[in-house]
């Protein structure tokens, strides 16, 4: 049966079923609505109120615009980008002392791991976004950025009128690495070179003695004897992790002291030269035969773990890790001996030079307050405050000579004298046996080096992992270097 619904001009037939369905549903819908609509309305209202309240509360406490605050009579906030190192973490705990001295200055710190923070700082400085008043960079960037006028001349603007800073106390080569045109563009926070740390009792048990100025050949021989895989002990621990500041740091020193280099005076890459090949072959072979397991992914942290748990006998790395051993594993620390960075056939001193430093970004406001902060971070006063709170073994080292002549420091820091001597022996202006057009011991001070270094370090890491031969790694690296040179017009 069907019902005819007609209207002028239209005539359609709808089955009874369709009609009943629609009409029934309308009734059903109506019935359901009456009971629930009240609940629904209340629920919606409540949710809305709560959401608005929460948003308001959070909004009012948190989000602020990132405009740099102009210097008011009251207080000033400076923003600092720092790399997360243990010394930085320590010093951040001393901030209350800074606030006592400078009640008008507030410091907001952005802390991130090295690579990430570097990327953020570089982007900020290069695009002049002025997100940060002070940045924690290194002796790699500082001279280059000074030339680009991206950093503020500290000698002229601040140090000259701040005798309390004791600028002459800064370790000379360390300070020099932060200069451009004779002026300081950064102030050193921690400085380091590289040396050998070894487990005294393991060497004694094997009947070995470590000379104060070892050669790489001697180190290799000792590592061979000390290597004991059945006990999970490796003869030597070296970095293999990819990164221009990771495995390339020790490797570059080996290349230098074997007589090799990155470029010759005409900027032709030398990565496949006989000296470079010999050096890299030596490093990779040493690591693969007597090095720690999984070396291709090991950086400082991993080697530190191995050394701290007596799983490796010899460790060639930064002078800045010795305080870490002191804190993490005091018994291992008491058993540690030190030697200068090993030399190759040329006999040239090979310790590297690296400095974490603070600079002021050009064009940012409140530069005087920023200077107050970074000068405090690198001052004698801070070091003695850190000593009081954390002990002399844990103070930021490698920036001031006064630390190293302090008897209290000398008592706890057995690595002190050799660290100072290593730093003072570093010559970044003349790093290799043959003259080169660049400065830098464990890096090449050109902007392209971050990328080139990363690419090459990846190849080296692959060679250490055994995924490719050293020859292949070097030829690919040489290709990368040639591309880099041609693209960037070196």
């Amino acid at each position: 049966m069907s019902v005819c619904l007609s209207a002028p001009g239209m005539s359609k037939t709808y089955s009874r079923y369709e009609l009943t369905l629609v009409v029934k549903e309308a009734f059903v819908v109506r019935k359901r609505m009456s009971g629930r609509s009240r609940f629904l309305r209340r629920g919606v209202a409540l949710t809305a109120i709560v959401t608005m309240a929460a948003t308001g509360a959070v909004f009012s406490s948190g989000a602020t615009s990132a405009q740099p605050k102009q210097a008011k009579a009251a207080s000033v906030t400076i923003r600092v980008a720092v790399v997360s190192t243990p010394q930085v973490t320590e010093v951040e705990q001393l901030l209350p002392d800074f606030y006592k001295m400078y009640p008008n200055i507030k410091v907001a710190i952005d802390t991130l791991p090295e690579d990430t923070e570097r990327a953020i700082i570089e982007t900020d400085i290069a695009t002049q976004a002025n997100e940060f008043n002070a940045v924690m960079i290194s002796n790699y960037e500082t001279p280059m950025w000074a030339k680009n006028h991206w950093l503020v001349d500290l000698s002229k603007n601040f140090i000259a009128s701040d005798p309390g800073y004791h600028v002459s106390d800064l370790i000379k080569p360390i300070a020099q690495s932060l200069m451009s045109g004779g002026e300081l563009y950064g102030v050193p926070f921690t400085g380091e070179s590289s040396f050998v740390m070894y487990n005294k009792s393991m060497l004694k048990a094997a009947g070995l003695t470590m000379p104060l100025h070892p050669t790489w050949t001697q180190i290799a021989a000792m590592a061979a004897k000390l290597n004991n895989p059945s006990k999970g002990v490796s003869g030597i621990c070296l970095r293999g992790e990819p990164g221009w500041g990771e495995n390339l740091a020790p490797l570059d020193t080996v290349i230098n002291t074997f007589g090799g280099s990155w470029f010759n005076m005409k900027w032709v890459p030398q990565l496949t030269s006989p000296a470079d090949e010999q050096a890299v072959n030596f490093y990779v072979k040493l690591l693969r035969t007597y090095g720690e397991p999984g070396a291709a992914a090991d950086g400082v942290n991993e080697c530190l773990q191995y050394y701290d748990s007596n799983k490796t006998a010899i460790w060639y790395d930064s002078t800045a890790v010795a305080p870490e051993i002191a804190v993490d594993a005091p018994s291992v620390y008491a058993n540690t001996g030190y030697a200068f960075a090993p030399t190759g056939p040329s006999g040239r001193a090979s310790g590297w030079q690296y400095v974490w430093s603070f600079s002021i970004a050009s064009g940012t406001p409140n530069q005087k307050a920023t200077w107050d902060f970074i000068s405090w971070m690198t001052s004698k006063q801070l070091i003695s405050e850190a000593a009081q709170k954390f002990g002399w073994a844990a103070v930021p080292g490698g920036n001031r000579t006064s630390t190293y002549v302090n008897p209290k420091y000398q008592k706890v820091a057995t690595y002190g004298p050799i660290t100072l001597a290593s730093m003072e022996a570093a010559r970044p202006d003349d790093p290799t046996v043959h003259p080169v057009p660049y400065t830098g011991i464990q890096f090449v001070a050109i902007p392209e080096f971050i990328n080139l270094g990363n690419e090459v370090s990846e190849q080296i890491s692959a060679a250490i992992a055994g995924r490719e031969s050293v020859a292949t790694a070097l030829s690919i690296s040489q290709q990368d270097a040639l591309t880099s040179v041609s693209e960037n017009g070196l």
């Binding site: 549903e25 309308a26 059903v28 819908v29 629904l40 997100e131 942290n301």
Partner: protein, 303 residues
């Protein structure tokens, strides 16, 4: 017997489907004898698999209570002296501000996504536009430009707008990030609203607003919750934009977490403590609302 027209058949099918769905949510599979033993074996197996897959998370929480030295041991310790010192270090590192920022950004961006994706989903389902398929494709392609490629242009645009290191920048960027899946999910839920109910409402003379509030919203409410939960998960966990576009003032939880990776020194226990605290809100939200999540990814309109 009247033969059913296609419409009637579809309607009858819908009703049957609804009934079947309701029934399937209740317990079924009553087994006897040997079948029951077999069933027990499967249950044990399921439990084992669940434990294995959950174990890394359990291990993370466990390690958070270890002193640093105990985290680096061979064999890994299950019995140890639990300590709250790692948590204390994490908390003293200032977790409150990143938490606020994350909460703000997540809440506001999720609300914004829901507000603009709901009408869009409506326009793709209840009263669809003609080229809805192309529109769906367009929304999906939004997810295809890798954020990494556009980061410098975004950085520069943000710098010029003075939005760097600002919560609002993240809110603005997270909305298109979550919009495609929100539209997709809400659309599926809206498709589940039975035609008859909508038609009946229209017959009753309901206008769009009444239709929405009295008919549609009650039915798709679980779907909205599920969509919101997905957006919360993705916003809270987002790392790349947060780390590159914020600094001292608007850092969110993932940025805070990564700050515990030091260049030298032991950090596993601290890292686990920080991870546990950072992941906790979303894990709890997911656990509490998991029924909605199950329904949410149901996308049951796939017929």
């Amino acid at each position: 017997m009247t033969t059913l027209s296609p419409v009637e058949g579809a309607t009858a099918g819908n009703i049957a489907r609804v009934l079947a769905y309701r029934r399937s949510r209740r317990s079924h599979h009553k087994l006897f004898g040997r079948a029951r033993l077999f069933g027990h074996a499967w249950s044990v197996f399921t439990w084992l698999i669940a434990i294995v897959l959950f174990f890394p998370v359990f291990w993370m929480v466990l390690t958070a209570f270890k002193p640093e030295v105990s985290a680096y041991t061979v064999p890994p310790q299950i019995i140890f002296h639990p300590t709250l010192s790692e948590f204390a270090q994490v908390l003293s590192g200032g977790i409150l501000k990143p938490f606020e920022h994350s909460a703000f950004v997540t809440a506001v961006s999720t609300a914004a996504v829901l507000v603009i994706s709901f009408p869009a989903a409506y326009a793709l389902s209840v009263r669809p536009v003609k080229r809805w398929r192309d529109t769906m494709f367009f929304f999906l392609t939004l997810k295809m430009l890798p954020p990494v490629a556009g980061i410098i242009p975004i950085y520069i645009v943000a710098r010029n707008l003075h939005l760097l290191d600002n919560d609002w920048l993240l809110v603005i960027l997270y909305v298109p990030m979550n919009l495609p899946i929100a539209v997709w999910m809400l659309r599926s839920f809206l498709l589940e609203v039975p035609r008859e109910v909508l038609d009946a409402a229209r017959v009753d003379g309901a206008n769009v607003v009444t239709e929405l509030t009295r008919v549609i919203l009650p039915i798709v409410r679980p779907g909205i919750v599920a969509t919101a939960l997905i957006c919360v998960i993705f916003s809270w966990n987002e790392f790349f934009f947060a780390v590159n576009l914020t600094a001292t003032q608007a850092g969110t939880m993932p940025v805070f977490l990564v700050g515990f990776l030091t260049t030298e020194g032991l950090y596993w226990a601290k890292l686990c403590a920080a991870s546990t605290l950072c992941c906790l809100p979303v894990i709890l939200a997911g656990w509490i609302a998991q029924k909605h999540l199950v329904r949410g990814l149901a996308l049951g309109a796939i017929k």
